[in-house]
């Protein structure tokens, strides 16, 4: 079996050059994983995997092509590279195409602790035992927890190697661990509600306790029992941290270079302008040690970094790879994302909204009547216009207190106005994933219900 190493990368780049490529990149990702699932106390599934893919991008002048393969033997690769160069010759020359400016490649890489050196892939028995503990905690939390979609423990390890024809080469390893639990609560009337909760980390020892995850999942299912629809009304909306993080993802999408140069974003020409309430500061940090979204270099071999996307409400930067940067006559920001066989795209790294000083309870206490949103479903976010309309569930707030659970309503507005009308920001920022937010209060949105 072929070795994936610097020599292979060098060889692939050489083959590309011999076939007439003027520039090239090679990306190789190897991954293995084990996922274990239990349901109602019994083993339900075990899944183990091993994968390795190699991707290239080749340029012939300003024309390029992308390709990926699972065949890493040199005979097959030789044809594969030659064919990809041929494909590039058939592609339109694009004046903005090309590798990044060679002087921008970093000389050294930060140590980010992306891999757990003490814990590799967790063995099946241990994984099943952890999933069982999490599910048992959920099932035993309350007699109304009557069913379950199970609990899962996943563990994965991956290796990324990237090199280009202008001398950049880098590689890194990462690990990930995840516990998820999905118990189902049932009321006397027979109505069912699922609760889901999870913990994820790059380091096994930093996962939340399995029992705590199970107990939280049960709590979330139970509090949805008896949910009802409410009348159509316009009221303040409080987003819990996980739901608020979705607003950040939508903003990052609109601030990303490809959306902007296509004119497909509500943030076109907004650089330097106030796009959010002055309370709002949003940062993107690709070099946070041990964080889920960190990496030592981006998908084009440029340095990742720490920066403000929004500073006190003002849009300070876009998120750019070198192609979209050239299109917009700006500098790349170290936000190129890459999957094997595709051209670079753009994504945030670790994106977060700076916490404020209020506890979630204090925020809820300021609302006379409103909705505390804990669930959102659907895809009703239009990045071009900012129009926002999604299915929502949560708790009704009456005189500053959470009262009864709500479901089958929508909340609607426009992201441009929603960000401007953020009135309060919680102090409850927790790094549960690569995009995180504290609790947010938005002055008013339309709820459609009965």
């Amino acid at each position: 079996m072929a070795q994936v190493d610097a020599a292979l990368a060098e060889w692939v780049l050489g083959v590309a050059r011999r076939n007439g490529a003027t520039a090239a990149e090679v990306l190789c990702v190897s991954a293995e994983s084990l996922a274990a699932g239990v349901r109602l106390g019994e083993v339900e599934k075990l899944k183990s995997s091993r994968e390795r893919r190699l991707g290239i991008r080749v340029f012939v002048g300003q024309s390029s092509a992308n390709a990926s393969t699972a065949e890493l033997e040199r005979d097959g690769l030789e044809d594969f590279v030659a064919h990809t160069v041929g494909l590039a010759r058939l592609t339109a020359a694009d004046p903005s195409a090309g590798l990044p400016d060679a002087t921008l490649h970093p000389k050294g890489f930060p140590e980010l602790e992306l891999a757990d050196n003490d814990q590799g892939i967790v063995d099946a028995d241990t994984a099943l035992a952890i999933a069982s503990r999490a599910e048992r905690a959920a099932l035993s939390a309350d007699p109304r927890i009557k069913n379950s979609e199970g609990a899962e423990f996943d563990s994965g390890r991956y290796h990324v190697m990237f090199a280009n024809s202008q001398g950049f080469a880098g590689e890194y390893e990462g690990t990930s661990f995840h516990i998820g639990v999905a118990p189902i609560a049932q009321s006397d009337s027979g109505a069912m509600q699922q609760g889901y909760w999870y913990t994820a980390n790059r380091h096994f020892a930093k996962l939340e306790n399995a029992e705590a995850v199970g107990a939280m999942a049960a709590k979330r299912a139970l509090r949805r029992l008896g949910s009802r629809k409410i009348k159509t009304t316009r009221v303040p909306i409080v987003f819990d941290p996980d739901m608020a993080a979705g607003l950040l993802r939508a903003l990052a999408g609109a601030a990303s270079g490809p959306s902007l140069y296509k004119g497909a974003s509500f943030l076109v020409d907004k650089l330097g302008e106030r796009i959010a309430s002055p309370l709002v500061t949003i940062r993107d940090d690709g070099i946070m040690v041990g964080a889920m979204g960190s990496k030592p270099f981006d998908g084009e071999g440029l340095a990742t970094n720490r920066k403000s996307l929004v500073e006190q409400g003002v849009l300070k930067t876009y998120l750019l790879d070198s192609y979209s940067a050239r299109k917009l006559k700006l500098q790349p920001t170290g936000n190129a994302a890459r999957s094997v066989g595709d051209a670079p795209t753009v994504s945030a790294t670790n994106l977060y909204l700076e916490p404020g000083s209020h506890s979630p309870q204090e925020i809820i206490a300021t609302v006379k009547q409103g909705l505390y949103v804990t669930e959102l479903i659907g895809f009703g976010v239009n990045g071009v216009t900012g129009d926002y309309s999604r299915g929502a569930g949560g708790m009704w707030i009456e005189n500053g207190e959470l009262t009864f659970p709500v479901q089958e309503v929508t909340i609607a507005g426009n992201l441009k106005e929603m960000f401007q009308s953020i009135e309060m920001i919680g102090n409850d920022l927790l790094w549960r994933s690569s995009v995180v937010s504290p609790t947010l209060k938005i002055a008013e949105m339309m709820i459609a219900g009965a």
């Binding site: 079996m1 349901r39 083993v43 339900e44 599934k45 075990l46 899944k47 183990s48 995997s49 091993r50 994968e51 390795r52 893919r53 092509a65 992308n66 390709a67 990926s68 699972a70 065949e71 594969f80 064919h83 058939l90 592609t91 339109a92 694009d94 069913n147 979609e149 189902i184 109505a191 069912m192 509600q193 699922q194 629809k229 159509t232 296509k262 004119g263 497909a264 076109v268 066989g341 051209a343 669930e375 479903i377 659907g378 895809f379 009703g380 239009n382 216009t385 129009d387 309309s389 999604r390 299915g391 479901q407 089958e408 309503v409 929508t410 609607a412 426009n414 339309m446 459609a448 009965a450």
Partner: protein, 482 residues
């Protein structure tokens, strides 16, 4: 190669040096413990993509992937392991990992004898696939689309067009000795248009495809239709007013709005959720869940459709399953595991995204049979409401039955006429209840143009939907205007 495609059963044996006795040994090893069933899923997929933006076809890509998955089922437990190296060595390791799910008490199994080939449908016997058409020709069509869209209206600012084509060869060999193999072509042409005027910017999208040849897009000028629809939708939306908020009468147009059935009904009828009793439809077979005007079908056997398959990803030939008959819940969608545990027959709905995934019950093409009203009668019957003709994605919470789907082109209905366009809005309802409110069903059933992709548990598979124009007496529209 050509011969292998006529007889895909031979493809993997030739390509990766496999032989039947080797496969029998692997299946024997998979069944070494107390297991009920084992299968091997082989996949070889080639795909190419082209994309145009700013009037240049500046993006081309190509991928080849292959792999094999080994599955072992013991009662309701599933062990699965896969590798992208298709060798007996890796398959033996995968079989050992997968069988760990079963009790270690060894039981004597009859030796597996690989033999009987499954008879598959012949739903997409193409003379050539779009992958065989020169790239230049595909690129030229994207440039023509760009020109046509820009000529449609001076307010068109940008055009994105893409064409993706793949060919998947699969083979399933199971512990009953059955072998099923298939060659599955699939392609899709997509057009997105950005329009702009002094009021702002809007987007419109249209596309289509299926398990079809390249000529499909040229026949009946389909590519022109896709292009004009995308441009028209973007231009219409420039004049859109805020959508209303609250519960109202909604008329859904025919075709793609069938996504309602997919979200509100289809997912809730998948066998896995019902075996576990976690669906809002659990235990409701034989009960009324829709108005008597509604008959809902899932049919994987319609020729050349995106959601169709000759055999599913467990080797079962696909079929036509009546889900709701005149309002009464009749059936669930089953894969092998859930059918066995529910003591019923598989319906050919066991599907998976790739060799890296375990099969699950999934929809194919899901649609409602036509009724007797004309679309004009249906719209004409509504004094005040919403007429929604195009949608983006949708989602459902299986357990409480609440579903959403988001309109991307909709109009107010005022005094029996579709009038002003409204901005996109999400519609939300309750799956077991929404079809009980259907009061009129049109005579204009149409299937969608071939763009659907369904996500479940992290796996994406191509699907189709269809709907005649229908009237729903009360569903919540998530607009911003009181």
């Amino acid at each position: 190669m050509a011969n292998d495609l006529v007889r895909p059963e031979q493809f993997f044996l030739n390509r990766f040096g496999m032989n039947e006795s080797g496969l029998e040994r692997i299946l024997g090893s998979a069944l070494e413990r107390k297991a009920d069933y084992a299968d091997l899923f082989f996949e070889y997929r080639s795909a190419e993509g082209l994309a145009l933006e700013e009037s240049m076809v500046n993006h081309t890509s190509k991928s080849v992937s292959h792999g094999v998955g080994v599955r072992v089922c013991a009662e309701d437990r599933t062990g699965y392991a896969y590798s992208d190296e298709v060798t007996f060595d890796r398959m033996r390791i995968a079989a050992e990992a997968a069988r760990a799910i079963a009790d270690s008490r060894a039981e004597p199994h009859a030796a597996v004898q690989v033999g009987g080939a499954v008879t598959r449908h012949q739903l997409y016997e193409l003379e050539s696939t779009p992958l065989d058409v020169p790239i230049e020709e595909r690129a030229k069509l994207l440039r023509q689309i760009d020109e046509l869209a820009r000529a449609y209206d001076p307010r068109v600012r940008n055009v994105m067009a893409s064409f993706a084509a793949e060919r998947k060869i699969v083979m399933i060999v199971n512990s009953e000795g059955r072998v099923a193999a298939d060659v599955q072509p699939l392609c899709r042409l997509n057009v997105t248009v950005i329009a702009e005027d002094e009021k702002g910017r809007q987007v419109g999208s249209f596309g289509g495809g299926g398990r079809v040849e390249w000529s499909y897009f040229l026949d009946q000028d389909r590519w022109k239709h896709y292009t004009r629809e995308a441009a028209r939708q973007a231009i219409v939306n420039l004049d859109a007013v805020d959508a209303p908020a609250g519960e109202m009468i909604v008329v859904l147009g025919n075709g793609w709005p069938g996504i309602l059935l997919h979200e509100a009904i289809g997912h809730g009828l998948e066998g896995d959720f019902n075996r576990k009793g976690v669906s809002a439809f659990s235990g409701r077979i034989g009960q009324s869940v829709a108005s008597p005007l509604c008959t809902v079908i899932d049919d994987g056997t319609i020729a050349n459709r995106r959601g169709s398959l000759n055999v599913d990803d467990e080797g079962t030939p696909t079929s036509r399953t009546v889900l709701i008959e005149k309002g009464i819940l009749r059936g669930y969608l089953q894969d092998r595991l859930n059918a066995r545990l529910m003591k019923t027959a598989p319906t050919g709905n066991g599907r998976r995204e790739s060799f890296a995934h375990v099969p699950m019950p999934r929809m194919t093409n899901t649609f409602m049979l036509p009724g007797e009203s004309t679309p004009e009668e249906i719209i004409g019957s509504v004094k005040k409401g919403l007429y929604a003709v195009s949608f983006g994605g949708g989602q459902v919470d299986i357990t409480n039955g609440k579903f959403v789907f988001s309109a991307s082109e909709a109009y107010l209905i005022e005094d029996g006429k579709a009038t002003r366009p409204v901005k996109g809005a999400t519609l939300i309802g309750n799956g077991p209840d929404v079809l009980t409110r259907v009061s009129m069903v049109g005579n204009d059933l149409a299937l969608d143009s071939g763009i659907g992709t369904c996500g479940k548990d992290g796996q994406s598979v191509p699907v189709g939907v269809g709907l005649p124009t229908i009237r729903i007496d009360g569903i919540t529209v998530g607009g911003t205007r009181a």
